[in-house]
């Protein structure tokens, strides 16, 4: 208790100063100081250029302590029961001595910036659990930006010693492909009775899944859930011919009644073991690293281009010429690029 109080006082002292030093951030994260971890994530989410520079240095300094968590993407449409499911699974995993971080990503409305996920009060019990850490992501980032910042947040959580990291997204097809490239396993939460057409709409997302769980398999809905699981299995098998990816494992659960949750935790462990043995684990991590690199390249290419003196001076003018139809967007882009490369 005394040690905790000491640590709190120290953190408060640091908070009085405007900014932590990178060394302070690093030490706090490695000590799993949640207040410092939270502030570090806020630093990473900032788009101020000074913050970006510090974030980059911080990531570099904690990088040797990363890579050890099981990164799990969880997706499902609103109403599939994602919060309840993650809370049930999280409680089970922490009871087994695991440290669980939940990063919730909300790709909602670009215009109003409104959130459909709400905040961490959604997982009230897990939020109070000392072995767990819940962090909602800001709603108004760009799509590519979400992946970039989520990747860095995963690294911070790994450095803080979390060994299970859940990345939660709303399954509307927008960010699933990105999340797929950040994680070791992709779990899709579904429910019965969504209608044939909505199910078929989600085929692309289902194909990304390693595990598909039909939730709300309780009461009168239990039999239906099993039937839906079987149907999906058959559909996916039909489409699977010639694909290199393993077909997803299908199962059901009731997060509300805590049924089959321990079994799903076991499925996760089995997937990891099989995947490590077969070499797929390492291969996926390599692919993911490559994706991160390509994302960073794209980001830095754009930053460098738009901060170029010639571009800053002439972009507006060329934009107007494109708008007036004097020049095609393509010809204008080629012209700008030529000047960008000539005049640094």
């Amino acid at each position: 208790m005394n040690i905790k109080l000491n640590s709190l006082v120290k953190t408060l002292e640091l908070l009085m100063k405007e900014k932590f030093s990178i060394a302070n951030y690093k030490k706090g994260i490695l000590d799993d100081d949640r207040m410092i971890l939270s502030r570090a994530i806020t630093l990473i989410e900032s788009s101020l250029s000074a913050d970006r520079k510090n974030a980059s240095t911080l990531i570099k300094s904690i990088f040797p302590h990363t890579g050890n968590a099981y990164r799990i993407g969880i997706s499902g449409i609103p109403g599939a029961g994602k919060s309840t499911f993650i809370e049930a699974l999280g409680k089970h995993l922490t009871s087994q001595g695991n440290k669980v971080a939940v990063l919730a990503i909300d790709p909602s409305s670009k215009i109003s910036g409104g959130s459909i996920l709400g905040d961490k009060t959604r997982m009230a019990e897990l939020a109070k659990n000392e072995m767990a850490f819940i962090r909602p992501s800001p709603a108004n980032s760009t799509l590519g930006g979400i992946a970039e910042k989520t990747y860095e947040t995963i690294l911070l959580c790994e450095a803080a010693g979390f060994n299970y990291i859940f990345i939660e997204t709303v399954g509307v097809g927008q960010s699933e492909t990105e999340i797929y490239h950040l994680t070791d396993l992709f779990l899709l939460l579904m429910i019965t009775g969504m209608g044939d057409e909505l199910q078929s709409m989600k085929k692309g997302i289902m194909e990304l899944a390693d595990i598909i769980v039909i939730n709300k398999a309780d009461g009168e809905n239990k039999e239906n859930a099993s039937k839906t699981a079987l149907e999906i299995k058959q559909v996916l098998h039909l489409f699977a011919s010639g694909k290199s990816k393993q077909e997803p494992v299908l199962t059901t659960c009731s997060a509300k009644e805590n049924t089959n949750i321990a079994e799903i935790a076991l499925l996760l462990e089995n997937f990891k073991e099989t995947s490590i043995t077969s070499g797929q684990w390492a291969q996926k991590r390599t692919t993911n690293a490559r994706q991160s690199l390509l994302r960073e390249i794209n980001h830095h290419l754009q930053t460098d281009f738009y901060s170029n003196t010639f571009i800053q001076k002439n972009l507006k003018k060329i934009e107007n010429e494109v708008a007036k139809g004097f020049i095609t967007p393509q010809a204008a882009a080629i012209l700008l690029l030529k000047n960008y490369k000539a005049k640094k």
Copy 2:
């Protein structure tokens, strides 16, 4: 009949040769020769670098003949009745002497490349109509690629004299923002009874809409459709405070029974007139042109980067170092960019 036969023979002769010349393409398009228009779109959709070059020259040459169509984005989830609606609206518009092009974009499954849209047999009657032209887009393009190629396809159709161009997407939130930036008006097709949560999921898309049409307002469903329209209107009004964008117009229709279709065509015309008078029309076109330019810049930046000799030689090596955790993706990207700029 004879003239048509002549034109057909000439087209066939041209088809015997490997490629058309750009001048042939241009003439064919300006003459609204559908076979040549189709081949030109295929050229634009190609990613071969020789084809890209020809496509670019072609776009430049027809560019002075573009910009005159009413570009309309139409979106809705599977089951909303998009095909029937577009067929009904298209038939009405062509009967009034308009030339209507329909570009159908399918953002489905990346892994299997499967299509959920089917092909133009969906709009059988409109497909046979000489005043109409229906073109489905390939399913396996990247998201940004879809917008780029759709923009160029719009230009080709405008050069061929189409004055209404419908761009149809499946409303799952993936491509709506991109289509919004390609069009003058965004029409969202909805149905009743989708469930509260699914409706709220679509709030982001609804906010983009200029017109929202509740389809299948027929038989017993008629009253419900009007009720849904009213509810959506109220929800959007609630969220609209402080936004610069006009609230969407709400209406109902039955595409199947051809009810209220002529009225919707009139709504489209009214929107255009009001929008031109207020200056919003020109403003949106300017914003759209800017978006096209930014897309092209991004495309050309990436193409130039990855074709650079140093990058081609060293990317693989650096990728491996990132995968092994020797260097962060960000540090690697900065290193690559530095060398890219130094060694052309």
